[in-house]
Symmetry: C2
Subunit: 345 residues, 2 copies
C-alpha cells in the first residue's frame, strides 16, 4: 500500500507539470494551420471533435512517469527531465495515431480515432507533426540546464528507439500476412514495438539525472523486461479483456488474426495447433469466436502467456535491484511495475 501511495503521490505531483510541458510543445499554430495542432490536441484527450476543451481519456502517461522516476531514482531533479518526458509521451502518441490508421482501428480510449474523423491524409500528417514535435520537446531540455552533451546522448537513444518502433510495427504488419510466425520472432517484434520505448524512457531519465553507465544500462534492462511483460499482458487483454474497460471490440485481435503470443503459442501446440490453423484459415466472423476461444483454452494459451509475463516481470525487477540496490523495493518504479501487471481489464 505504501508503494501504491508513493506512486500516486509521484503522479499527482508531476503529471500537471508534464501536461503543461506537452501543451506548450503542441501549442496551437497561428491562423490557418491551427487545425493541424487541434487534431493533435484531440488525440491527446484535451479537446473534443469540435475542438472544445474538456476532460477526456488521456492514457496512463506511463512512459513519461518512468522517465521522471528514473531521473529521481538516480538522484536527479525530475524537473530537468520534464522536456524529455514530454518528448517520450508525444512520440508514443504519434505512434498510436499512425498505428490506428495502419491497423484500421476506429476506436481508442472510448473515442473515435483521428483518421475516422478527419480522414487518413490529415491523420498521417498530424502524426508526422507530433513526431517532429517530440524531437522539439527533447531539444527543450536545454532550457532546464541539461548540457548539449547529454542532450545529444539522449537524442541518440531517442532516435534509435524511433527506428526500433518502426521496425516493430513493420514486423507486426508483415507477420499478419504470414501463415506461421515463431514465438521467438514475435518476441523480437514486441521488443521493437513496445519494450524499446519503455526501456528508452527509463534510460533517458537516468541519463538526464546523471546516472553512471552501469546504472543506466540496468534501468534500460528493467524497462525492456517490463515492456515485454507489459506487451504480453496487452496481448492477453486483447483476447480475454473486457471490451467495456479496454475500449476495444471483443475478439477484434482474433478476427484480425493478430499474431499475439497466446495465439502463436496455441498455433504451435502439437494437437490443438492443426485444428486452430484450419479454423482461422477460413473467413472469420464473430460467430466463430466461441470455438476459437475453446481451442485457446485447450492449448492452455492464457496460462503460457501469463507465465511468460511473470518471468519478464521478475527479470525486470532483478534489473531494478541491480540499478538501485536497497532502494529498489521502496522505489515508485517498483510500484509502477507491479501496478502495470496487476491490471486485469
Amino acid at each position: 500500500m505504501s508503494e501504491q501511495n508513493g506512486l500516486e503521490a509521484f503522479g499527482q505531483e508531476w503529471l500537471p507539470y508534464l501536461e503543461a510541458e506537452m501543451r506548450a510543445v503542441l501549442a496551437t499554430g497561428l491562423g490557418a494551420a491551427e487545425r493541424h495542432y487541434q487534431m493533435m490536441h484531440y488525440h491527446m484527450g484535451w479537446v473534443d471533435e469540435s475542438f472544445q476543451p474538456g476532460e477526456f481519456g488521456t492514457g496512463k502517461r506511463i512512459r513519461p512517469l518512468l522517465c521522471l522516476m528514473a531521473c529521481e531514482a538516480v538522484g536527479g531533479d525530475p524537473a530537468t527531465a520534464l522536456p524529455a518526458a514530454a518528448a517520450l509521451e508525444i512520440l508514443h502518441n504519434f505512434s498510436l495515431i499512425h498505428d490506428d490508421i495502419e491497423d484500421g482501428d476506429e476506436t481508442r480510449r472510448h473515442r473515435s480515432t483521428l483518421w475516422t474523423i478527419w480522414g487518413v491524409p490529415q491523420a498521417i500528417n498530424a502524426g508526422d507533426g507530433m513526431f517532429a514535435l517530440a524531437f522539439a520537446a527533447l531539444l527543450g531540455s536545454k532550457a532546464q540546464g541539461v548540457t548539449n552533451d547529454r542532450v545529444v546522448a539522449a537524442l541518440e537513444r531517442f532516435t534509435a528507439c524511433c527506428t526500433a518502433l518502426t521496425e516493430g510495427q513493420h514486423l507486426d504488419m508483415w507477420f499478419e500476412e504470414q501463415d506461421r510466425v515463431e514465438v521467438a520472432d514475435y518476441l523480437r517484434m514486441i521488443e521493437g514495438k513496445t519494450a524499446s520505448l519503455l526501456a528508452t524512457s527509463l534510460s533517458i531519465g537516468a541519463l538526464i539525472g546523471g546516472a553512471t553507465a552501469p546504472v543506466d544500462d540496468a534501468l534500460y534492462c528493467f524497462g525492456r523486461h517490463l515492456g515485454l511483460a507489459f506487451q504480453i499482458q496487452d496481448d492477453i487483454l486483447g483476447i480475454w479483456g473486457d471490451p467495456a474497460v479496454t475500449g476495444k471490440a471483443a475478439g477484434n485481435d482474433i478476427l484480425r488474426r493478430k499474431k499475439s503470443l497466446p495465439l502463436l503459442y496455441a498455433l504451435g501446440h502439437p494437437t490443438v495447433g492443426p485444428r486452430l490453423v484450419e479454423r482461422i484459415s477460413q473467413p472469420l466472423d464473430e460467430e466463430d469466436l466461441p470455438a476459437i476461444y475453446e481451442l485457446l483454452a485447450l492449448a492452455k494459451a492464457q496460462a503460457f502467456a501469463e507465465e511468460q509475463m511473470h518471468s519478464h516481470h521478475q527479470a525486470g525487477l532483478d534489473g531494478l535491484a541491480e540499478a538501485l540496490g536497497d532502494r529498489a523495493l521502496t522505489s515508485p518504479l517498483h510500484a509502477l511495475a507491479d501496478e502495470l501487471l496487476l491490471r486485469r481489464t
Copy 2:
C-alpha cells in the same frame, strides 16, 4: 557555361559520397525486418520492386547539394556536412512517401509509388522509419568532428523545418477542401512545404561550415526565396509541363483542383474568375481540361506566376550576394539557382 561546369563538377565530386552516406544510414536491418529497409531503398531509386539492385530515378538531390555547397561557400570542408546532407535528402524523401499517400499519387519519377506496391499501412511505416533515420543521419555528424553544440544547433533548425513541412502539408490538404484560397495564404503554405527545407539545407550547411550568424541568415534567406521560386515553377510545370518528362499525368493538378498559384490567381481574376469558379465547381474529367486551360490563358495566369517566380529568384540572388559578396556570382550556388529555374519540363 563555367558556372554550369562548376556545378556539374561539384555534383560529380560529392554525390557518390552522399549516396554512400545515405546507404549506410538506410542499411538493411537483419532478418525479418529487412523488407522495411528494402522499401526505403526502392523509394530512393536503388532497387526495383523485387529488391534487385539497379539504376532508377533518384531525384536531383538538390537539398543535400545546397547543404554541401553552403558549407564550402563559408569556408568549411563539405565532407563534414555529408551526414547533414544525407539527413536532409532522407527527410525530403520521407515527406514524398507520405505526400504520395496523402495525395493519392500513383506515380513518381516514372515508377509506381511505394503505397501502390506494398499498401498504405507499410508505406506510412516505411516513411516513419525514414523520418527517424533522417535524425540518425544528422546525429552522425559527430563522427565528422562536428561539436555537440553545432549538432544541437543544426538539430534545432532541422526540427523546426520538420514542423514547418507538416504545417505546409496540412494547409495544402486543407486548402483543397476550401472554395477559395487567397494568394497570400497559398504563399504561406509553400513557405512551409518547400521553402523551409531548402532554406534549412543551406543554413545547416553554413552552420556546420562555421558561418557567422549574419552569413547564415543571408543564406537562409537565399534558400527561402529560391524555394518559393522553385515551388511556383513546380506549380507551372504541374499545369503546363510535359507529362513524358515530369512523370506526372497531364492536368492532374487541375482535375484534383490543386490550389496552385496560377489557378488561385485566375480564380481571383475580375472577369475570368467567376467563369472558372463555375467550371471547376462541377464534377471534372479530362474532357473539361481544354476549356479550363483556355480560361487560365485568358487570365494570363502563367505569365503572372512566372513573374512571381523571377521576383523570388532575384530576391534569393540578393541574399546570396549579401552572404558571399564578390564570390556570389562564381559560386556553384548561383549556378544551381539558375539551373533550377531554367528547367522548362
